[in-house]
């Protein structure tokens, strides 16, 4: 179970990088098809989801309700496309179903719905709630004596919600050590705090603020470049090793990562893609669309 950075060989890193690339391609294709949906947040989390779904998580896509599976909660539920794309590529459902995203009758709702889509461990969408549910799962696994680990992905903007810190406090109090939070620290939120001019939006937190806060709440804090696959894997696997307290991976990411004109621009939080933008994005991601 333990795996440091050195144990991830180059071929494995390249395999996971390719899955992250394909996840990004499916995100862009789906938003282009639906002409609706969040873009920046899913792209910033693509490497993390690739590492989780294609290596770290102990899951059975053909048996999504397997009782001993690891749990994963996308607390930043508006980034549902990154999870749907990862799940489709992992074999939970066909990639074609991604094109139903946000359409009437689809299992792929705007925010993940556990009642509709097998493999979603908790419905999310209202920010700040996922870590509490993850704590409940971790405590439930402890009661049942199951070797189940629970991973919860949060946004950095989401960490402004008070409930996140309620959960952080209680998790540390119960020394829950099979609970891993991951913060997609992409330094932007939907609109953001005003900077010196209207076009400049300040990040959700000051530099170092998240590390200090999670540390102060009694969590083991692991920092990683969220787009360096070897580092992402190493951080997640280090965080998975029980150590008598919950762990958080602060993953430094770039909103919109992978498509140059979307990177670091808060306006790409959620907006439709124009035909020329779609073509350019596909080229940058190494896909040739017919």
């Amino acid at each position: 179970m333990t795996a440091g950075a050195g144990t991830v060989n180059r071929a494995e890193v390249e395999r996971l990088e390719e899955m992250a690339r394909r996840i990004r391609v499916e995100i862009i294709r789906t938003v282009n098809h639906a002409q609706v949906g969040h873009v920046g947040g899913p792209l910033s989390a693509a490497d993390i989801l690739a590492a989780l779904y294609f290596r770290v998580l102990r899951i059975r896509p053909d048996e999504p309700a397997w009782p001993d599976r690891d749990r994963f909660i996308l607390s930043k539920g508006h980034s549902s496309l990154v999870q749907y794309s990862a799940m489709a590529l992992r074999g939970y459902f066909g990639v074609d179903e991604l094109r139903t995203f946000d359409s009437q009758g689809s299992r792929l709702q705007g925010h993940p719905d556990m009642k509709l889509l097998p493999g979603i461990d908790m419905s999310t969408g209202s920010l700040g709630m996922g870590l509490s549910a993850g704590l409940g799962m971790a405590l439930g696994a402890r009661f049942a004596g199951r070797d189940v680990r629970t991973f919860v992905l949060l946004g950095d903007g989401e960490c402004q919600e008070g409930q996140v810190w309620e959960a952080a406090m209680v998790a540390a109090r119960y020394r829950v050590d099979r609970l891993v939070a991951i913060v997609d620290h992409n330094k932007l939120q939907q609109y953001g705090w005003p900077g010196e001019t209207a076009d400049v939006r300040l990040p959700p937190e000051e530099p170092g603020e998240l590390l200090a806060k999670w540390g102060a709440f009694g969590w083991r804090v692991i920092e990683a470049d969220g787009h360096d696959m070897a580092r992402v894997v190493a951080a997640l696997e280090e965080a998975s090793v029980p150590e008598g307290r919950p762990s958080v991976v602060i993953a430094h990411t770039v909103k919109g990562h992978g498509v140059s004109f979307m990177e670091g621009d808060y306006r790409w939080h959620s907006k439709p893609i124009k035909p020329e933008e779609f073509a350019a994005a596909m080229r940058e991601l190494g896909e040739v669309e017919e």
């Binding site: 709630m129 509490s132 704590l135 409940g136 405590l139 439930g140 209680v170």
Partner: protein, 310 residues
């Protein structure tokens, strides 16, 4: 008088947990008030202190439910319904989580805590929430039966539990039937429909009305979501005049529910007695009941004063 519902809550859930290993109790630092402390003494390993952090507590309960546990919540209505309303809606109701929102200090009997703790719109809120079963038992006996029913039901259930001893309405043979209106007194002049701890007071009001020559038919409606439509219609047809009586706002609560039902299914002259769009104040229980006109005497007076020809 019956025993305080909160004591029944602590004892009944403890007994249920003797035979049901799924049951856990999550407490929002009020176990000594809600009497979840009784459960803690019986099952210390299954009592989890969640601190003064109720939004998290609701989310933890939802997560635990996905692992096969059946969490009961120990806090006040104000912190089980109103404060974590979005968590209740998104994490419990929308997921159909097997979580029992057993909320104490329902209504006005809060140990003189005043308007912050007098949550008198919870029925209106919870019955508007798809998938949220809402039950308001009348006394200690019914509280026990409702908790047993809730534990046997797979899904979210909201149970309103009163702090102080309330009047005993039912005998030990009482069997709770989910979503069934209960006729607790026969009469022919006017139908009084009531819920929760107000029902025994409404029966007393009917006794006072009888002394004045008015025969009141009294129906207890413990299940407020869903609604026993046929039971309400039958109760209305019995006398052709309906008065709802509740220790709760008349907006959207029992009165609202009955008005909606009869308006659609059996239009009937109707009056609603309860709290009328106000914030309440701190005072002893009996003073509050008199102040807001829902003591037995207050209800009897208001029913007598109704001019049905208007």
């Amino acid at each position: 008088m019956g025993r305080p519902m909160r004591e029944v809550f602590g004892e009944t859930v403890s007994r249920l947990a003797d035979d049901d290993p799924r049951i856990v109790m999550l407490d929002g630092d009020l176990g000594s008030s809600t009497k979840a402390d009784i459960f803690e003494h019986a099952h210390p390993d299954r009592f989890l202190q969640m601190g003064i952090a109720e939004q998290n507590m609701i989310g933890v309960a939802a997560g635990m439910a996905t692992m096969g546990l059946m969490p009961f919540i120990s806090t006040f209505v104000s912190f089980a319904v109103v404060r974590p309303l979005d968590q209740v809606r998104v994490q419990v109701a929308q997921t159909g989580a097997n979580v029992k929102l057993t909320a104490g200090y329902a209504g006005l009997f809060t140990g003189m805590a005043g308007k912050t703790h007098h949550i008198v719109d919870d029925i209106s809120i919870m019955r508007a929430m798809p998938g949220m079963i809402t039950i308001s038992p009348a006394d200690d006996v019914e509280t026990d039966r409702v908790l047993r029913w809730a534990a046997a039901h797979d899904g979210p259930v909201y149970v309103r539990i009163v702090r102080d001893a309330t009047q005993r309405l039912f005998d030990e043979d009482y069997r709770f039937e989910f979503n069934r209106a209960v006729v607790v007194r026969e009469g022919s002049d006017v139908t009084l429909i009531s819920t929760g701890a107000q029902t025994p007071r409404t029966v007393d009001a009917a006794d006072l009305l009888a002394e004045r020559g008015i025969s009141a038919h009294v129906v207890h409606l413990p299940t407020l979501k869903p609604l026993d439509v046929q039971g309400i219609v039958s109760a209305a047809e019995r006398t052709g005049r309906v008065v709802t009586v509740e220790e709760h706002t008349i907006i959207g609560g029992l009165g609202g529910a009955v008005a909606e039902t009869l308006g659609e299914h059996r239009p009937t002259p109707l009056r609603r007695i309860g709290l009328e769009d106000i914030y309440t104040e701190s005072a002893p229980n009996d003073v509050l009941l008199d102040l807001y006109g829902i003591s037995a005497g207050g209800v009897a007076d208001r029913v007598r004063e109704i001019r049905w020809d208007r």
